[in-house]
């Protein structure tokens, strides 16, 4: 993206900026040319940044009161809920914040899938994003273990046991993860340590993610490159800032609705029962945001196969910039891909639903069907569509009329400029 070179006005500013170009960076962030036709699906980047910071700040305070010990962890959570000033608020914001974080990240990912934001030249942004997503899942999983309730304990047992499926070294790896021969105090303390550490790694990756974004600039709903920067773009501040802020507030209203009125709706009741290694819950389920992968894991009859399918389902996302052979980015101009996109959305929602059910009978059958479709979408449909699909002609530029046709997914602003 072309931008004018920035020179600070004052002497001191010039002295400083030539040694550490922080002022140039600020200037770049402020004036960063952004496509003016971005719709509200593009506001989730800002929302996600907010979520990450919220999680880090609330987590920092919670860690001051939490005790990572098998005999005290559960009680220390109740201590936070009852004796720490506004401890209940901190904990509910943090616990539901994780859910809101995942809700936002799923919308963000599906937005990228719809508008082809992972395609050249934005592959690095996508890969970094996927790394963030995987780290988020690891962090959330370990965070869920910390209250040391029944689901914490048994969830940790099930998930860490997955590694025992690895031939030869599996058992050794599990013992190494546990720090012993069962999920116990050493497991809890290391999960706490990692749960504290990983968010900073995520933060670092977010910086790289944004950096990588600022090289080619934003994709946009039409999916074509910026032709005339002066006509097609607006400076990030104030136009995008105010729009992101508006979307963030709407998001916060929903967030607050959950935190203040149904704070336990997304959790499992069993996690209010202290962990008991002797009593297995009748039905072990992870948090909702991990359910699609849990369904894939259980769809495969063999343990090793299930583990490979589960990790494969994540790995496959990493390589979709090369699996998608279509040169057209936005699904707006790809009538067939648009249909398959929505089928994928339904498929992932179905996997999530099935992940919460006991894998038997029809649940298992549909679980397998949905798993097969998930892989088929990326491995067969995506590559083939690129060759077979008849796409709709692209507009000349973002600010020019869309060849007389009205596309239904362009934004307010674009419509008004037309």
């Amino acid at each position: 993206m072309s931008e004018e070179k920035y020179f600070p006005k004052s002497k001191i500013g010039q002295w400083f900026d030539s040694r550490l170009p922080l002022l140039s960076l600020m200037h770049h962030l402020r004036d960063y040319p952004t496509p003016k036709n971005l719709n509200y699906w593009w506001t989730f980047g800002g929302i996600l940044t907010f979520c990450l910071i919220t999680q880090i700040v609330t987590g920092l305070v919670l860690a001051m009161h939490y005790v990572a010990h098998v005999d005290l962890a559960f009680e220390s959570i109740e201590h936070i809920m009852r004796n720490v000033n506004y401890g209940w608020l901190l904990r509910y914001v943090h616990a539901n914040g994780a859910s809101m974080f995942f809700l936002a990240v799923y919308i963000h990912i599906f937005r990228a899938l719809f508008y082809g934001s992972y395609k050249s030249p934005r592959e690095m942004i996508w890969i970094l994003g996927m790394m963030i997503y995987i780290l988020m899942m690891a962090t959330a999983f370990m965070g869920y273990v910390l209250p040391w309730g029944q689901m914490s304990f048994w969830g940790a047992t099930v998930i860490t046991n997955l590694f025992s499926a690895i031939p030869l070294v599996g058992e050794g790896i599990v013992t190494w993860l546990w720090g012993g021969f069962a999920v116990a105090n050493p497991t809890l303390t290391r999960f706490f340590s990692l749960h504290y550490f990983l968010p900073f790694l995520i933060f670092g990756l977010v910086v790289l993610h944004i950096w990588a974004l600022h090289i080619p600039g934003n994709n946009n709903p039409v999916g074509i490159d910026i032709k005339k920067p002066s006509k097609d773009t607006v400076p990030f501040s104030p136009y995008i800032v105010v729009k992101d802020l508006y979307a963030l507030i709407i998001f916060l209203i929903i967030f607050a609705g959950i935190v203040f009125f149904v704070p336990n709706i997304l959790g499992h009741t069993d996690n209010y029962i202290k962990a008991n290694p002797i009593v297995t819950p009748s039905h072990i389920v992870p948090e909702w945001y991990l359910l699609p992968f849990y369904a894939i894991l259980r769809a495969i009859p063999s343990k090793l196969g299930g583990v490979m399918a589960m990790f494969g389902s994540l790995f496959i996302l990493m390589i979709i910039p090369w699996l998608d052979t279509s040169k057209i980015r936005s699904a707006v101009f790809r009538p067939l891909y648009k249909i398959f996109f929505w089928v994928l959305v339904i498929d992932v929602l179905a996997l999530g639903y099935l992940g919460a059910k006991v894998p038997e009978g029809w649940y298992l059958f549909f679980g397998r069907l949905a798993t097969i479709y998930y892989f088929a979408h990326f491995l067969i449909i995506m590559p083939v569509l690129g060759y077979k699909e008849k796409t709709i002609p692209l507009p000349i530029s973002i600010s020019d009329p869309v060849l007389g046709e009205k596309t239904n997914l362009t934004t307010t602003n674009q419509k008004k400029t037309v």
Partner: protein
């Protein structure tokens, strides 16, 4: 405009779904008995009289087996709870025996409870409680309402769910039939019967009334901040809605510059 609407619509659909769908499959069981709960809803608060009566049922009936280890005596006088007078709560605390120590001689000793103490437990540990109750541990009630699907309605139903086992039902020794218990077998006998307690406020102590009162009390025990949460929540959302309106207007004004520039 259309997109904004779409986005808000989809987010609110998610919200509504999360409210209504029970994500995790429920065990099959009888439908819980329905009743009105004063603490439900956005403006829900506890019924002070209900909490006080519920405390009475707990202390006279439940507390001989069930602990509330996370509750402190001072909580009974705090805002949003039964709001007993501080003098009464001091008396309640003092009537319990708390094990403290070791003293300077290295001995453990007992003393009357204080406001800052946690509720005295009926048994010294889980094993003792299990042994004294025929091999079933009477669960601690600190977060019991949050630990059971159905919450207060579940406790309320369970307490009234004792019945003769249906024909052909194999009941194990020392357990009772209960419509709402998973597996329909419960170690706890039917504890409530009409006029079991004599309510200080003169309310007639029917089984239904006691079940309701103690369920409300246990809800407060599980969630002592509920009233504060509802109150703050309403203000937060009101603030956010107003802010959203203001930001929306500023946004429109800002973006109108872009639209006029051809």
């Amino acid at each position: 405009m259309k997109n904004k609407f779409k986005l808000i619509a989809s987010l609110s659909i998610f919200f509504l779904i999360s409210l209504n769908i029970n994500l995790y499959s429920a065990e099959s069981g009888a439908h819980l008995i329905k009743t009105e709960w004063s603490f439900k809803g956005i403006f829900g608060t506890f019924d002070r009289g209900e909490l006080r009566r519920g405390y009475q049922v707990y202390s006279e009936v439940c507390s001989s087996c069930h602990s509330i280890s996370e509750l402190r005596y001072r909580n009974l006088s705090e805002k949003g709870g039964p709001e007993f007078s501080i003098d009464l709560v001091k008396k309640i605390a003092a009537s319990s025996e708390i094990t403290d120590g070791p003293n300077s001689d290295g001995e453990m000793f007992t003393r009357p409870g204080r406001l800052s103490d946690k509720f005295a437990k009926p048994y010294p540990n889980i094993q003792a409680a299990t042994a004294a109750n025929g091999g079933a541990y009477p669960p601690d009630m600190s977060v019991l309402v949050k630990a059971r699907k159905g919450g207060a309605a579940y406790i309320y139903s369970l307490l009234q769910g004792y019945d003769e086992p249906p024909e052909g039902f194999q009941l194990d020794d020392g357990v009772y039939y209960n419509k709402f218990m998973s597996g329909n077998q419960i170690k706890m006998p039917n504890m409530l019967s009409d006029d079991l307690v004599e309510y200080a406020d003169g309310t007639k102590a029917t089984t239904e009334q006691m079940a309701k009162d103690v369920s409300s009390f246990l809800t407060w025990v599980s969630e002592p901040s509920l009233e504060a949460r509802h109150k703050i929540g309403f203000r937060v959302i009101l603030y956010l809605v107003v802010l959203a309106g203001l930001v929306y207007l500023s946004m429109n004004r800002l973006w109108s510059r872009i639209e006029s520039k051809k």
